[in-house]
Structure formats: structure tokens, C-alpha cells
Amino acid sequence: MHGNGLVIYDEDIRRIQAVVERLVRDANAKGVFVVDRNGQLISEAGEMRGLDTTSLASLTAGCIAATGGLAKLVGEEDFPVHFHQGQRDNLHITLVAKRIILVVIFDDRSSLGLVRLRVKKVGVELAKVFEEVQKKSEQEAASGAATPFSEITDDDIDNLFSA
């Protein structure tokens, strides 16, 4: 295992969710998604019901990883902002605080300029939230506080595979 994993609590999710829902409204977006750089979906809001969000999260992380590799090739640290234009829907992807990916899906009810403007503001807010989440994770790991794993037994693990 490499380093400590990301641990997010109820109160953190509520804060992130509030920010994400506000961004949907302020940017006139169809959907907003917050994804961990490793491809885990953290939060979502908007009208994109039925979308395969697990795949969206994994592919977004792959996209950021691939262009991050390209960035290094040309001497940049990262390409933190991506825009994909479609016939109907567009995707605006931003890397926040080098760790979190903010995905906004929008159509012609909004505009790239508006999305950019709103994302910039929200990015600062999200960066702050995740900095605190990270700090909390590290402090708890250092203090040896209980996680769901500290109480599990080998039998619990074996039972998972007995079916």
C-alpha cells in the first residue's frame, strides 16, 4: 500500500456537495462531478441522471493522467484545464490542487466563459476543503484512530468470498 488513502467523512461530503450544487446553478451546468485523481467519484450534482458515473470518473482520471504525462514531455508540470467540445454537450475538466478533478458538463444554455469563471472561483473553495480533508486523514492516520478496517477480522475478509 502506498501512503495513506483518502478518507472522507459525512461533514466533508456535505460541504463538497453544497459547493457542487451551487456550481450547477451558477454555471447553468447540466452536471458537475468531483473525482479523485485516482478515478474515484466523490460527489455529483445536476440533471445527468442515469449516467455511468463510475466510468466517467475512471475515464476522466485517465484523461488527466495522460495529458499530465504529455505536459511533462513538453516541460509543463500539468495541463490543469481541459475543454472538450461536442455537438450538443461540452466537457470542462479542471485539476484542482493537483489532486481533485472537477468536471462540468454543459450545453448551449451556458457558455464556456461562464463555466470558466464559475469554476475558477469554486476551485479555490474546493482546494481549501480538500486540504482540510487531507490534513484530517493524515492526523488520524498518525494518531492511530479507528477506521472501518481496524476492527475487521480475517473471518470478515474470508466471509466476503464464501458466497
Binding site: D12, R14, D36, N38, A65
Partner: protein, 197 residues
């Protein structure tokens, strides 16, 4: 890197299938996908070339059940095995919780197996990790082929430290779920140890 979400009571882990080109990493995932209850799996994504060689990765999200009220989800990834896709392999290994090394049993692929295993160690080291400290299992795939190398020889070459290993034939599913269960178990035990219990 695992992700624990207390709000949705979920634990997410990332497992990567590594190995030389055409060793059967994608076939492992395809078998798992075809034999898993639809309620427990998401869509399988393959970013492949026109000739169905993995270009970037395959991805399969899988739910394994609950532990102490937390849903355990595993995200299975494969890397592209061909030597020249090394930059992509490095990216996919980031944040990995457990690795399956799929070895090709054909005798003429032994050098490719060793090269790929060395490449795995190098790429893990690149992100500050050591293979010995990563949950890791080995699968000797294609055991059904007439030109398969003797098992002892493969163990000696690829598994001198006696880690969990399995014989397999991914095309008919033999050994596929045994391998997956072993790596998932190893990842969960590792997380438990990291929790200091």
C-alpha cells in the same frame, strides 16, 4: 490508494493486472465481467487499438459485498503490456492498492515475463513504492498450452519469495477468480494492518 467514504459507507480499492503483452490480462477481466452478477459490476471499459490490443487500459468496477457495514468496491485495471507503452503503465500504477502479475506460461515468453516483472518493480519504485510492500499475487496463465514451461521453473524465475501464486487458463476461467480473491484478500489485510490493528 484506497478511498473510504463514510457518507456512502464505501471502501474503494484499486487493483492493477500487470504482465507482458498478450499474456491474458484483458482476458482475465473479460472472464470476471462475463461471470459476475450484473448487480455487482459496472460497465467494462476497454481503451484498445483497432486490433484489440490494449492501448491505455481496461477498467472493470466490481462490488464484493459488505464488511462491517461498508460496501467494498474494487476497481480492476489492466495495463498495456507492449514494451513501448511504458509511460501509460506508469500512469495506471499510480495509487494502486494491489497488483496481479499475469505471466505467460509459454516457454518462449519467459524473457518477456522477467522483463515485465522488472519493469513493474521499476515503475513502482518511481512512485516511491516497493513490490515487497505491495499486496501482490502471481498468475501463471495459459497452462493449457502444449508449450507451457514447467511450473517449478516459472516459480523459480518469477516467485522466488513464495508469494501467493495460481495456475490459470483465462480463456476458460480456470484460476481467474482464485487469483482475484487472493489479491482482494491481500489488499484488505494490508488495509487492516495499515489501520494499526
Amino acid at each position: 490508494m484506497s478511498f473510504i467514504n463514510y457518507s456512502s459507507r464505501e471502501i474503494n480499492c484499486k487493483i492493477v493486472y500487470y504482465g507482458p503483452g498478450l499474456c491474458g490480462k484483458t482476458t482475465n477481466l473479460q472472464w470476471i465481467y462475463s461471470k459476475t452478477n450484473p448487480d455487482l459490476k459496472g460497465k467494462m471499459i476497454s481503451l484498445a487499438t483497432e486490433t484489440e490490443r490494449t492501448l491505455f487500459f481496461d477498467f472493470l468496477p466490481l462490488a464484493l459485498g459488505e464488511i462491517r457495514g461498508f460496501k467494498t468496491r474494487f476497481h480492476l485495471y489492466t495495463v498495456p503490456g507492449q514494451v513501448f507503452y511504458d509511460a501509460s503503465r506508469k500512469l495506471i500504477l499510480k495509487g494502486v492498492d494491489g497488483v496481479v502479475f499475469v505471466a505467460d506460461s509459454q516457454i518462449e515468453r519467459m524473457e518477456a515475463n522477467v522483463e515485465s516483472l522488472d519493469n513493474l518493480k521499476l515503475n513502482l519504485a518511481d512512485q516511491g513504492a516497493k513490490l515487497e510492500e505491495t499486496p501482490f499475487v502471481i498468475q501463471y496463465n495459459k497452462r493449457d498450452l502444449p508449450n507451457a514451461a514447467p511450473l517449478d521453473e516459472m516459480k523459480q524465475l518469477l516467485n522466488s519469495s513464495g508469494l501467493p501464486d495460481f495456475e490459470a487458463c483465462a480463456t476458460d476461467g480456470r484460476g481467474v477468480f482464485e487469483t482475484l480473491k487472493a489479491v482482494a484478500r491481500s489488499v484488505l489485510r494490508d488495509l487492516k494492518q495499515m489501520s494499526g490493528s
